[in-house]
Symmetry: C2
Subunit: 460 residues, 2 copies
């Protein structure tokens, strides 16, 4: 957006959010939901799930005053431009005042919604319903020491293979990425891949799921893993029940469950030996610099761990340390255990303790992510929940259907996708995220599967 | 859009158009407009212009039944995919049934609005208010024989200079295009240039005008003239009064006036000797293959006339013949003088007569343009009105302010832009298009200026 547009954009967003709020909280809608509830639909039916979902969203939305909704939209719209400027100049002072406003407004939202024990719980409901900050805190506290140990060992391993230097033309990357995405099961009759600065996936309608990736002509694995990740999100969207589109029963249930799908296809499938046994020959046809690479070498190349400052560039091993840091800081900011002015110092101290390297500047520290400027507090932990659930689901799928491992080894992804369709995609939001994971895998989210996966892949 | 999305998209558009229609035609809005009218604002004020504009749009909108609005939106949404398929296969039979539906619905719209003498007049009001098919017909009938004569002479001239074969990297093109657009007066604080398959300009808010272009690494003039054309549109949008944004007084008045701005900057400024005297040295710095080119040579290269089948690829000389053909056919289709089944034959016969070359297939003939599938009948003549008005405005500007010619010769575009700001941009829709041209130039749209410009540039 050009700089001169920010004022009008803020007004437009405030108006639209306020208008949507007014429509969603109209008395007549409350009446319709009560009428539905009186009809007592059978437990387990889509109708029952929809009525529960509508009631939940209505009751939650009516608790917010419209002024708060409009103010939050206008403030966060303004904040994005300020954050861009602050990050460019690596100057936290530029961002601090508006971040203070956002945290204050966020607390007001949490107070309006109400919560047990701490405001973070009210925010989590937007992203990971049915989960509390305490539960996540416990899970992350168990994860942290073991993960730090794995990171230290994995990052200290000597790097024996690196991607051959050469030219990897974008059209060849597009061909390869499309063939892979199609083989995994992304439906191009109902979707596209385009180019964008930041990879993302958006499900517009049942017939229209859009993925984006970005290209480095020096490294085709960058765009490939972008596509695999986003195709994981996209196949979830494409697997929702089209006849329940727009209803709770036909809507993705949470960010953490969404991320479990992207991470499963990106990391558990796409970085595996089995995957490259299938696809290396095709990659070598399309990319001459790869012609002398062995299977072991490419698998090592796409599974290299390295400590780094930027979350979005982090590998599978170090990634969750970035999340643990953000979760701790967000929680402390909301309880006022720390103030906005303490953030840079707290970030740098805690980062150095977790990663063993220091933060060179705030652009590579507490100013790196866009989320807080958007007002997305409580969002970060869903990335790690996604990683944990990805490992647990991938394990459960192979356990429940022993054909899957063999199929993956021969490049047949249909049995794995069918299992995910049944267990995760088709339920939509009929079950809460923790209940969905329990129903699919037989136990609550357990960090052991992810740790075991990392150990197998990086420490053997 | 992926193929599977078309059904949902059609339903969404039908709903949105119907909803917008219902909101715009609400009784209370009619009451507000009556109250405004009763206030009798001073003639010539923005308020008076706004009230006239609101009244006109309201009275026009209430004449349409909501079912027709929804049906038109759903049919045209569906038609775009069908047209793409038909063009790809060069098979008119695929497109004919839905085109028949669109023309029938278009006649229903014209009947609902009401018109004198022929339905085309009712449609023109959407694109070029205050102009009748008869007026355009007269103008085009005078234009045609003279233009055919110029085309024949211009296309038969030997081509003495061609663009040097070479590599013109996209980043260098982007640098050049941006420097030129900035020099002309496009405000990058309030706008952007991006890449798209089809160049376009869209004014989103007073601070946010977006241009797109496309790049050929073999020819930097392709993206450059795309940018100059769209920047002409963009500077019109940026010149509207921000305090009247969204009101008639702050809205571009017609497609023909919009096109006059794009064509003026693209052709009268951008293809002139004066422009290249300023910019050739910079182009030669950025593009090594141009280093040995003389000023005369580059001017000849960007002013080469050639008969061709595709309108959007046509040069300045032959372009209007494409429009004359479409106008005649649309008018005949609406009066039922010809039927949809006659279109391919009529197109091919008339094209050959106008251009002296035959049509190889329908993809290069009557299936080439997207407009009819969108339901845009009555739109095409505005392109030629734009060309005629561009020549007339450029002549009037230099006549009224003798400094402009000298300024253009030294690469100063501010005096020309200031004249357009005052005469065309700032009035918004306060005057009807014919009155605006009369006020700016002292006479109604006159084809003589365009013909004189073409003769000077191509036949001397």
């Amino acid at each position: 957006m050009p700089p001169a547009a920010s004022g009008t954009r803020a007004r437009q967003l405030a108006y639209l959010k306020g208008r949507a709020h007014a429509l969603a909280t109209a008395d007549e809608i409350g009446g319709w939901i009560s009428d539905c509830e009186a009809a007592e639909m059978p437990e387990g039916s889509h109708e029952a799930a929809n009525i529960r979902g509508w009631r939940y969203r209505y009751d939650r939305e009516v608790k917010l005053p419209i002024e708060l909704v409009e103010n939050f939209a206008a403030t966060t719209s303004k904040a994005v431009g300020i954050w861009q400027d602050a990050r460019k100049n690596s100057d936290f002072k530029i961002f601090a005042p508006v971040l203070e406003e956002i945290i204050d407004l966020t607390r007001q939202k949490a107070d309006a919604w109400g919560y047990d024990s701490e405001p973070y719980n009210a925010l989590l409901e937007d992203y990971e319903r049915g989960t509390t900050a305490k539960q996540i805190g416990c899970l992350f506290d168990q994860l942290e020491p073991e993960l730090v140990g794995i990171v230290n060992q994995a990052c200290d391993r000597p790097v024996t293979s690196t991607l051959p230097v050469g030219d990897y033309p974008i059209p060849a990357q597009q061909t390869f990425n499309r063939e892979v995405a199609e083989a995994l099961g992304f439906d191009f009759q109902a979707g596209r891949i385009d180019t964008a600065t930041h990879p993302f996936c958006t499900g517009l309608t049942p017939g229209d799921t859009r993925l984006t990736t970005r290209y480095l002509t020096s490294d085709p694995t960058s765009s490939l893993f972008g596509v695999l990740h986003e195709a994981g999100h996209g196949m979830y969207e494409q697997g929702l029940l089209p006849e329940e589109w727009g209803h709770p029963a036909g809507t993705a249930v949470s960010l953490g469950i969404h991320e479990s799908q992207s991470r499963l296809w990106e990391n558990h499938v796409g970085r595996s030996q089995a995957f490259w046994a299938t696809w290396l020959p095709r990659a070598q046809e399309l990319f001459p610099p790869l012609r002398d690479l062995s299977l072991d070498e490419i698998v090592q190349i796409v599974n290299t761990a390295k400590r780094s400052h930027i979350r979005v560039e982090a590998d599978e091993v170090t990634y969750d340390l970035h999340i643990l840091l953000r979760f701790q800081l967000e929680r402390a900011l909301l309880t006022k255990e720390i103030g906005v002015q303490d953030l840079p110092r707290e970030w740098n101290t805690r980062f150095e303790k977790l990663f063993g390297i220091s933060v060179p500047d705030h652009a590579h520290g507490c100013l790196q992510d866009v989320h807080w400027s958007f007002g997305l507090l409580g969002y970060f932990p869903t990335y790690t929940l996604g990683n944990l659930n990805a490992a647990q689901l991938f394990h459960a799928a192979q356990n429940q259907n022993p054909a899957i491992s063999g199929d993956l080894a021969t490049g047949n992804y249909a049995t794995l996708l069918a299992w995910l369709r049944e267990k995760i995609h088709q339920p939509g939001s009929s079950l809460l995220p923790p209940d969905l994971i329990l129903a699919a895998t037989g136990e609550p989210t357990n960090h052991a599967y992810h740790l075991s996966h990392l150990r197998n892949r990086y420490l053997t």
